[in-house]
């Protein structure tokens, strides 16, 4: 029985036919919580036993790497060598889901660079799958970023993320204003809303330097039993569950694994 349970937890190797999936999380504004979103996504796939690798473009430091060191590599996507490290390995890597957390302000530039090296042609030809998680700020101005992103989302999954975690518990724009950005292009976007997380809980996860899921499970970075507050752990678990349910509703799991693995 114990052996069965152990085997059930082991991440499954994806089938060789599974198309590599690239997920970019970014924004052209700083401080909107891109890395938080990338962290919830890594927890989501880990919870579904899907092997995932992550690239943190906050070179040389890397916030994402601090929380998910085992699966994250810090890269500078403006450098050819690092572009090769990410993109040339998409087919050869056993890990078929790659998450790229793009440094603040570099989203447009990164997408342009990826166009130049033929990434979007490869997406169009069906070699890779691509999803863009565009994290918006609370101001109306941030909506104008949507216009800049739409050309890159033609053959992709486009997610607009409203992030309330950084005290942005108000949004200047309403749904009608937001919809106008998609009318012209007849596109729609999946919407993900990241709810506010209790400040003290967020702060304690930062101090602990562990994935949200580990904090919720009371584990240290070395997978040993920690001594975090039950209340704060509860806040983190409930918060992350609400986000993961939205990923489920948006069909992320089926999309990333070609429907091969589902919860």
């Amino acid at each position: 029985m114990a052996k069965e349970a152990k085997e059930a937890k082991k991440p499954e190797k994806p089938s060789s036919k599974q198309k590599p999936a690239v997920i970019i999380v970014g924004a052209d504004k700083g401080g909107v919580g891109k890395t938080t979103v990338a962290r919830t996504m890594l927890d989501y796939f880990a919870g579904k036993n899907v092997l995932t690798r992550a690239f943190d473009t906050e070179s040389p430091r890397g916030t994402l790497k601090r929380f998910h060191p085992r699966v994250t590599e810090v890269v500078d996507l403006t450098q050819v060598a690092d572009q090769m490290k990410v993109l040339d390995t998409l087919h050869s890597s056993e890990v078929k889901v790659s998450i790229i957390d793009v440094r603040a302000g570099l989203l447009s530039r990164t997408l342009k660079d990826m166009t130049d090296i033929g990434f979007f042609d490869a997406v169009k030809n069906g070699e890779f799958k691509f999803a863009l998680f565009h994290v918006l700020g609370p101001s109306v101005a941030s909506l104008s970023e949507i216009d800049d992103m739409l050309p890159y989302t033609e053959n992709a999954e486009y997610y607009v993320v409203k992030n309330h975690i950084n005290d942005t518990n108000f949004f200047e724009w309403d749904q009608e204003t937001y919809n106008r950005y998609f009318k012209k292009s007849r596109r729609t976007a999946n919407e993900i809303t990241v709810p506010k997380l209790n400040e003290m809980a967020y702060e304690q996860v930062e101090l602990a330097g562990v994935p949200f899921v580990s904090f919720g499970q009371n584990k240290t970075a070395k997978n040993q039993r920690a001594d975090y507050s039950l209340v704060l752990r509860g806040y983190v678990r409930t918060w992350e569950k609400a986000i993961h349910e939205q990923y489920d509703d948006a069909g992320m799991m089926e999309w990333a694994t070609d429907g091969a693995q589902s919860s």
Binding site: N198, E199, M200, A201, S229, L230, V231, L232, R233, G234, Y235, R237, T238
Partner: protein, 259 residues
Amino acid sequence: MLGKSLAILVVSPRDRSGTTLIARLFAEFFRLSGDAPLLFDTDTLKPKFSKYFPEAQVVNLDKTKGQMGLFDTLPLRAHEPKIVDVTSRSFATFFSLMRDIDFVAEARANNVEPVIVYIPHYEAEDFERGFKIREHFGCEFMLAENAFLGVAPQALHSVNSYWALKAHPVHMAIPLLDPMSMNLLEDERVSMAEFLKASAPGSVPPASGEKAQLPLAYLSLDARSKIRNWLKPSLREVQRVVQLVQARLNTPVSEPQSF
């Protein structure tokens, strides 16, 4: 007492249901049994429980620190009973937190069993709520019927949740005490345990000019006897349900007391 310890959560969705009174009875019972219960008062607006027990911690469930003060402490110190007075003001917040942080699982992982002592008014809505709470949390539950709240009207007999809770295996009933005696017992200076000792036959009343420790010390013998005749069966009732829950949990039972 070794084995599982109990976290007694005395709750009611309505005001003036007797949560503080029943929480007091549990606290006095454990003290008389030689335990040192940890006590919590969740009503910051009109704290009553902590007036009877100054060592009780008053926790503000609207603040994260207050929430941590209660829910982070309850699963600890596994060998001591815990008693929480959850008045109607904190009822909704208390249960939403309890659900969100998965308190029952955490407490059980630390050898602490939450026991919800639910006091309804005789309204269909209260029984529906109690039923949902029992089904949702799946921890030990007891229906507490407080005779001060009257009797169930006929209309309630057609409500399924009423019968479901009435048929619950752990069920306590607090007898009626006349309003004047209850007023006396509600005096913040009154300790039920001290009253039992001071009013026992053969105890010496304060000498003339000597200051009484308890305001009840000057009561007539008739009044003393009325209160004692309410207090003793009430404590015996608490003892019965505590022992019943302990037996259900297969944990050592509290030393029987002769009240």
